[in-house]
């Protein structure tokens, strides 16, 4: 489903060139839920931005559903839903419905389908009461629901969540985890980045560990536990960072 091959991304600053992602390769199958683990600044967001075609890789190729991103960008965008942070990408002066309608239009969804999709998502996330209210004054939890609905408005096959539970209270974070579980059961392919190990353990079958732009582990969580002879992911993560890229 997602095939990343030798992807590198460099950023040129005035004085130096920073390599945010270094020759990363991995493969994710359809319907998998994959956790992308790494410290702040490890290159998680850059990697997700490249998969979502917002950023072009400096080197390497990314394929989604057999199509290369650099050749079929528009087609691929229709298949991907992205949420960076927990509540971003929304317009405060528009109502929740207007926000969703706007993005539905941009995904070229017709009016009738948009209406039905919004009602369905509103019911699913319990937003019906405030669907026609402007986002100004919404709580974090309410905004998060609208942001997720926006991400799913075009019913994407691949969903990318970047640090989706950062800054959320326990209730909202739990609701979000429940959502990922539901989406997984619907057969969606999901990558979500996080630095909360318990969250990853709870939701993912596979993980990608990234450190200073390099992939230090790719594989099933179960295999990792066996290899390390412990299921303490925090411990494993720290030791992998120290050992570097030996298992990739």
């Amino acid at each position: 489903m997602i095939h990343v091959k030798d992807v590198t991304r460099r950023f040129k600053d005035k004085k130096e060139t920073i390599e945010a992602v270094k020759s990363v390769s991995f493969h994710i199958n359809k319907g998998e839920v994959v956790g992308l683990l790494g410290e702040n600044g490890a290159g998680k967001t850059t990697l997700l931005r490249m998969i979502s075609s917002i950023l072009e890789p400096t080197e390497g190729t990314i394929e989604i559903d057999g199509q290369r991103i650099d050749q079929h960008g528009m087609d691929i965008k229709r298949k991907i839903g992205v949420l960076f942070g927990s509540e971003t990408g929304l317009y405060d002066r528009l109502t929740a419905r207007e926000n969703l309608t706007y993005f539905a239009r941009l995904y070229n969804i017709n009016k009738q389908e948009t209406k039905g999709r919004i009602e369905e998502l509103a019911k699913r996330f319990g937003m019906t009461d405030y669907l026609d209210r402007k986002l100004q004054g919404f709580s974090k939890g309410m905004r998060q629901k609208v942001a997720i609905a926006r991400t799913l408005i075009h019913d994407p096959d691949v969903i990318l969540f970047d640090e989706p539970t950062t800054g959320l209270d326990i209730t909202s974070a739990n609701l979000f985890r429940e959502l990922i579980h539901q989406l997984s059961q619907e057969g969606k392919t999901i990558i979500f980045s996080s630095h909360i190990m318990e969250e990853v353990q709870q939701l993912c079958e596979s993980i990608l560990m990234i450190h200073k732009g390099e992939l230090v582990y790719e594989g099933l969580l179960e295999d990792l536990y066996k290899e390390e002879e412990t299921d303490n992911l925090n411990y494993i993560f720290m030791s992998r960072l120290v050992r570097g890229k030996e298992h990739v």
Binding site: T45, I54, L55, K77, N108
Partner: protein
């Protein structure tokens, strides 16, 4: 697809109180304020209230009487009037010889020294009135002398000079004033009208991370850019049109001096259509530039900081053209961006309706708009400008 972006941005902009304030309220208030100032202060025949003038206590009472006869001045006698003026207590001080009348009779040509604050329009108006009165007194004295010598005043004035304006009316100063107000008000209104939207739609979206969600959609970036650019331009056009309506309405309803100068009765169609075309192309150009500036900035505050010098630069052609007659304009004036809108407004207010000028404004502006849009499109295709520092 850009119409969806445009429609959403317009709704968003109209719900932003700051945009409404800068696009509608400010142009109206600015136009009314500057119009009132021009009509009541700069074009006023006489100052609103009398000006106090300081005269030395030793002054010849006859001359003091003359000065007291000038309606717009209040005479105050002081020991050292010049010192009082320099201290800022009086706008005008006058020093007169104690034996002025006697000196005149004896043919000694005595001097009346007037000191006035050059920065005050009230002082200027009062000095004009005093000078008129003194000139009249001089003429009366000369007439008496000539009569005594059996001559008439015609001896000193062998011929007359008639001075008329090219426009055939006696409203040169008023027309000039309307022109400089209109140029300033319209250009500022167009620039300010699109400013909040421009900083919000690019730098603001980067700051709030909404741009990321937008470019994730399968919409060609050119469509996103065009939708946003047209939003900024529409607000600029609206603001410009509001300022024109306010200016014309205000001049016609609330002014006396400027009303006579702005006579559109025979040319409403040409005036309105030419000015509308001028405002539209100017707004399209300005909005493209504001858009580029906003793309360079990472935050709204940064965008606003970058725009300020551009507004000052836009004022340069205004000052260059301030003393140039519309009859002196060559085609070059209508081909240089920013200068062309000032030139067009001036031409229209002076009643010169020249199709070539309008075509040159439209043609040259279109070239610069296309260049600016091209730069904008290139920038908007690069993640560095679209996503800002984070990319």
């Amino acid at each position: 697809m850009f119409r969806h972006v445009y429609a959403k941005e317009m709704i968003d902009a109209f719900r932003d109180k700051k945009t409404l304030f800068l696009s509608v309220i400010i142009p109206i208030l600015f136009t009314i304020g500057i119009g009132l100032f021009m009509d009541n202060v700069l074009l006023a025949d006489t100052p609103e209230k009398p000006v106090d003038i300081a005269i030395n206590t030793t002054a010849d009472p006859e001359v003091v009487n003359w000065l007291e006869s000038v309606e717009i001045v209040n005479v105050k006698l002081l020991d050292d009037p010049l010192h009082a003026s320099k201290e800022g207590d009086f706008l005008i001080s006058v020093e007169i010889d104690s034996k002025f009348t006697q000196a005149v009779e004896e043919g000694h040509m005595p001097v009346i020294s007037i000191y006035a604050d050059p920065s005050s329009s009230r002082a200027d108006a009062a000095v004009n009135e005093i000078m008129n009165m003194l000139t009249m007194k001089q003429s009366e004295m000369v007439a008496i002398e000539l009569e005594a010598a059996d001559l008439t005043a015609d001896v000193l004035q062998p011929f007359d000079v008639e001075m008329s304006t090219l426009t055939g009316s006696d409203d040169g100063l008023s027309k000039y004033m309307i022109t400089i107000i209109a140029q300033l008000v319209i250009v500022i209104a167009v620039m300010m009208g699109g400013l909040p939207a421009s900083s919000d739609l690019f730098a603001g979206e980067k700051e709030r991370n909404t741009m990321e969600a937008l470019i994730m959609t399968p919409v060609n970036r050119i469509h996103i850019l065009l939708g946003k650019w047209l939003t900024i331009a529409t607000l600029g056009i609206m603001s410009g049109v509001f300022s024109v309506i306010t200016l014309v309405g205000f001049v016609q309803l609330f002014t006396t001096n400027m009303k006579e100068a702005l006579d559109l009765s025979n040319n409403v169609f040409y005036f309105t259509s030419s000015l509308t075309v001028g405002i539209i192309v100017f707004a399209l150009l300005v909005s493209a530039l504001e858009m580029i500036i906003s793309m360079v900035a990472n935050t709204m505050k940064e965008a606003q900081n970058y725009v300020s010098p551009i507004i000052f630069l836009a004022m340069i052609p205004y000052f260059i053209l301030i003393d140039v007659s519309p009859h002196e304009f060559t085609n070059t004036y209508f081909m240089i961006p920013f200068m062309n809108i000032y030139a067009l407004i001036k031409q229209l207010i002076y009643g010169i309706y020249d199709l070539t000028s309008i075509l040159l404004v439209v043609g040259s502006s279109t070239v610069f708009i296309l260049i600016a849009l091209g730069i904008g499109m290139i920038m908007f295709s690069k993640s560095k400008w679209v996503l800002g520092k984070s990319s």
